[in-house]
Point group: C2
Chain length 332, copies 2
């Protein structure tokens, strides 16, 4: 194990290290699953296959909100509350400013300074990525690695804009939406679909002269949520307030999450939701992979470029172009 920092690890070294909770090896394993190099992919797959029996034991919590809502300070405050209860936590964050892993680690350690020095907490920032099937696929697999490493709770942060919320909602047990008590503009660009998939809303920055405003916002959001039809789990999303800088509201949030977990487990929805998430993930992944194979094929790219010209001008019917493309791809 002397030279372990430099040399390539074997499957069993990865697996053993992860199961022992060795964070250096865990971090390297996450880097491995995030890699797109073919040799890394194969190794990552073997590691994942080995650790699968040891996954599923953590409570998975997704946290989102628009930029400026205070996700980092919330994660720090809520994370410290949880480690204070002697829970071990892994925090998977997405760094929107970086497209590369290495550059973002320091940034995130600074964002959550106290939490990153807490031995019960493990913080792992990942680049926000661009590609379809990129960031979520990796986040899911990173989550599984953290579970195998034995963390009680996994917190997954998303950047709060666009599609990533839906992806994260598809991998967590509980999905928390952070909101600001805005000055009049109560919807702040949050997509309506996001409110509908949240299991709870938390109004952040409920401190100082913002307390009254956040209470009003809480009532408004609670009323707005009543307009959505209940889903089959019969859980009605709740709205809470908190102050990350004053560390207030964290206990209530945790109590709510525990209550949700109980609610879901009593009705057998907890494991059902996970099973459904896995199947959706499989379908999205295979669809994405097949289309990737198609669009990355150099012959297809050439042919597609050619056919596009005739199709966009309305000279060639789409059905003919589809036949030519599919023949070229499937009869390779």
């Amino acid at each position: 194990m002397t030279n372990i920092r430099k040399r390539r690890l074997s499957v069993s070294e990865y697996v053993q290290g992860i199961l022992e909770g060795n964070r250096m090896i865990l971090s390297r394993a996450i880097t491995l699953v995030e890699s797109s190099r073919p040799q890394d992919r194969r190794l990552a797959e073997q590691v994942l296959e080995e650790i699968m029996p040891h996954t599923g034991g953590s409570l998975r919590i997704g946290i989102t909100g628009v930029p400026g809502v205070g996700k980092s300070t919330f994660l720090e405050s809520f994370g410290l509350y949880l480690t204070g209860l002697d829970k071990s936590i892994a925090v998977l964050t997405i760094d929107p400013t970086s497209q590369k892993t290495r550059g973002s680690i320091l940034g995130d350690k600074t964002r959550m300074e106290e939490l990153s020095n807490d031995p019960r907490a493990y913080i792992r920032p990942s680049p926000s990525g661009k590609s379809l099937g990129g960031v979520h696929e990796k986040t899911r697999e990173s989550m599984l690695l953290c579970e195998a490493a034995g963390f009680d709770i996994i917190l997954i942060e998303t950047v709060g804009v666009g599609q990533s919320e839906v992806a994260v909602e598809g991998m967590v047990d509980f999905f928390l939406l952070l909101m600001l008590a805005g000055a009049g503009d109560e919807l702040q660009g949050i997509k309506r679909g996001i409110m509908e998939i949240a299991d709870a809303l938390v109004i952040t920055k409920s401190d100082g002269d913002n307390v009254a405003r956040s209470k009003i916002a809480r009532r408004q959001y609670q009323n707005a949520l009543h307009l959505f039809p209940p889903n089959k789990t019969e859980w009605y999303p709740k709205v809470l307030t908190c102050s990350s800088v004053e560390s207030r509201g964290m206990k209530e949030i945790w109590t709510l999450i525990k209550r949700f977990e109980e609610h879901m487990k009593e009705r057998d929805f907890f494991h059902q939701r996970r099973a459904e998430q896995n199947l959706r993930w499989l379908e999205e992944s295979i669809n994405c992979y097949l289309l990737e194979q198609f669009y990355q094929d150099p012959n297809i790219q050439y042919l597609y470029g050619d056919l596009k010209k005739s199709v966009s001008k309305g000279k060639l019917p789409v059905s003919a172009a589809v036949r030519k493309l599919s023949e070229a791809f499937l009869n390779r």
Copy 2:
């Protein structure tokens, strides 16, 4: 041509018949493109390829609205207004009650009795269909056949719920959303995304004691539309009112559509929008076709069913299942 009603037509018979505006042959050609039989598909493709140079000359108008908004009476009233201007029109409707073509024709002829007896109008109902890539693909190709047959205007109706609007918006020049002046409930379950893609809104049933209400609704919708950011075409959606039973408002709607056409042509957006629609259509079609080939492969179905069990239980990582499935499919 004696036995033409029964026997299989050749490509050139189809093409010649369509270009001559022979409605019996046009109807058969639409049935042909709607067919999923492989031998029909090939023939349909050849027919489409031949008629492509003769397409693109019609103004394409999409019309949608929730059930009960009065789409049929609007189509009848607006259609008669247009034929009164000596325009020839093709009306492609979707019959939500039928999954088969044959059963629905009588139903729709009854729905638009006066218009269906008008020699300048051609009404073609199609079953609403179920499959992805089903109804829209066929509607688009039916539209092209009608264009080759020389109609000035094509009206395309959609059922007004769910995904079909987005598909239709992707094939028309002008997209009209019909709305009711509701009793308090101004949004009536119309998805917000639909309002955002409409080029105009028309409040229907503005007659009798409903006139005042529809004027209020018109103002409310016009205000609501101002909240959406303008798109690159710089066209601001307008709101009008109409009464189909009293045939009022049709002239204003037609004037608006003509104004829109002029606006788009002056800025070169008219043909640009069509070119973009064609490319989007190509991409959706090829994606859909490739995934169909995958999911309909019997070996894949067997393997997928097997892998699903392990994946849903969290025993097999998705990446491993994806590799197995893609190897089985691409290395056939």
